[in-house]
Amino acid sequence: MRRLSQPAVYFVALLAVAVTIAPVIYVVIGGFRTTAQINADPAGFPDPWVWDKYGQVLGSPAFWQQALNSSIVALVTTAGVVMLGVMAAFVIARYSFRGREAVFSLFTAGLLFPLSVAIVPLFVMLKNLGLLSTLAGVAIPQIAFQLPTTIIILVPFLRGIPAELEDAAMIDGASRLGFFWRILLPLSGPGLVTVGVLAFVASWNAYLLPLLILGNPKTATLPLGVQYFATAYSQDTAAVLAFTSIAALPAILFFTIAQRRIVGGLTGAVKG
């Protein structure tokens, strides 16, 4: 690679990062001020640095309960989506059968429905199934709505695993199931991580569905909590900023940890 005006590249990179991060930094730092400070000078620095607001948020049991709820729902959603998705993508990608195109199109069509379309009937259905006010009532529809993205990413990815591997496994006496379990799954690690992370982030940030199912702030997930907090304390800007920062943290941390895998996973998906 030719080193072409490295400073120019760094400049672009830093500019991109600055514009990207500045608002986030503002929110985080805002939590260290009092509302009075913010009212007086919206763009200033904390003077003095106030820990109360963050303390208020971290000390509230409601916050931890909501974080726990968000975690449970996100983990269940992710596990469900990845399992169901990889199984379905496996057969769609590598085996021809009648109706395969139709099934794939069916799943693809799912990308076209925003959740808001299905909300009213979904509520009635969940009520009839007794799933209202349960975390399962949030996780299962989330799994369903996340399947299209997952399958669309996994199908080309799984197709990329060479046929010879499967042939070799068959010759060695393995069943298709064995091939799936012992060879394909490990090989599709990056792809699975990609869809897993996407599912986790989507679930963690989901707002509409939990609102629909989990009305009580005590059973709410974090985005709901942010909004409840923001409205209940709408006049306490600093506290809202603090709550918002903390609520954003888990998704960012999770992504940091999984970041390398994601790019790797996306690479695989895109190559296919």
Binding site: T20, M83, A88, S116, P121
Partner: protein
């Protein structure tokens, strides 16, 4: 990736093969049908009724809801805004993202950190991002403060209150949120471009720009096409961010089909009407998706690896 047909007969496993397919496909299919397709179908049913959500579903009015929506200038405006965002996203986010990705696709100190930071907006929930920007864009708020500090006080507008400016403010925030995703996607795609090609081109005397233009970018084709598809669909379904930032206003300057559905359907207690708008939204997305798949994505997904089971 080969297309060699399966040669081993393994006829005895035909039934087992079919069982495998059904067994593997069923769970996903059942969950999907029950919790996505069925509700959407029901929503379509609701769209033919005049229903306020509280009473029984008994006032059938046929296509009246659809006629009303399509004739409403506010809804037409919403469609216009959606289409504008589709176009602007492709024309503006695309090239910028490709450009930044190309520049970042080289050994850089702190490359991982930079990539991480650029992706952060995408990871934030829309509620959080919307809240943050709303606070930032207040009159005499932080953004105005920074602009004035840089001596650009004359640039300051009523970002969210001026009907002529608010649409562009919205688009800016959308770019902020989704540019990182595009950049990361393109970076991933660039991993698939072999170094040998660009090195060979350099040996042949091509400039950096020529290399990008004639080799790298075309090889990025599949990635660009996927990104464009996701971008189009996302732009058509836009809701959360718009709702939090502007509520579709002021005076319907930033409505989208989805915010219209919420504002005129749910907020006004007319769920049948809201469902009709939702169905229209779906149909518009479907048309785009079908056209896109037929004309653009066909060559990517068309050739398929077939493994005969029977």
């Amino acid at each position: 990736m080969t297309a060699a047909p399966l040669t081993r007969p393994l006829r005895r496993s035909r039934r087992r093969g079919r069982a495998l397919i059904i067994g593997f496909l069923a769970p996903a299919l059942v969950v999907y049908l029950t919790f996505v397709l069925l509700p959407v179908g029901l929503a379509a049913v609701y769209s033919f009724f005049n229903w306020n959500g509280l009473s029984a579903l008994d006032r059938f009015i046929g296509f009246d809801n659809y006629a009303r929506a399509l004739a409403d200038p506010v809804f037409q405006g919403a469609i216009g805004h959606n289409l504008a965002i589709v176009g602007l996203s492709l024309l503006i986010q695309g090239p910028i993202a490709i450009g930044v990705a190309l520049l970042l696709n080289r050994p850089l100190r702190g490359r991982t950190i930079i990539r991480l930071l650029i992706f952060v907006p995408y990871v934030l929930s829309e509620v959080i991002a919307g809240l943050a920007w709303k606070l930032l864009l207040q009159p005499d708020g932080p953004v105005d403060g920074v602009l004035q500090g840089m001596g650009l006080g004359g640039v300051v507008q009523l970002w969210l209150a001026d009907q002529n400016v608010v649409f562009w403010t919205l688009f800016f925030v959308l770019c902020w949120k989704y540019l990182g995703f595009a950049i990361i996607l393109f970076l991933a795609g660039l991993q698939g471009v072999p170094d040998e090609l660009s090195e060979a081109a350099q040996i042949d005397g091509a400039t950096w720009w020529q290399t990008q233009r004639h080799i790298t970018i075309p090889l990025l084709g599949p990635t660009i096409r996927i990104w464009a598809f996701l971008s189009i669909i996302g732009s058509l379904q836009l809701f959360d961010m718009v709702w939090i930032l502007t509520g579709g206003g002021p005076v319907n300057a930033t409505t989208t089909m989805a915010t219209y559905m919420v504002q005129y359907g749910f907020q006004r207690s007319q769920l049948g009407y809201g469902s009709a708008v939702a169905v229209i939204l779906f149909i518009v997305s479907l048309i785009f998706a079908l056209l896109y798949q037929r004309f653009i994505l066909r060559r990517d997904f068309g050739a398929s690896l077939t493994r005969g089971v029977s």
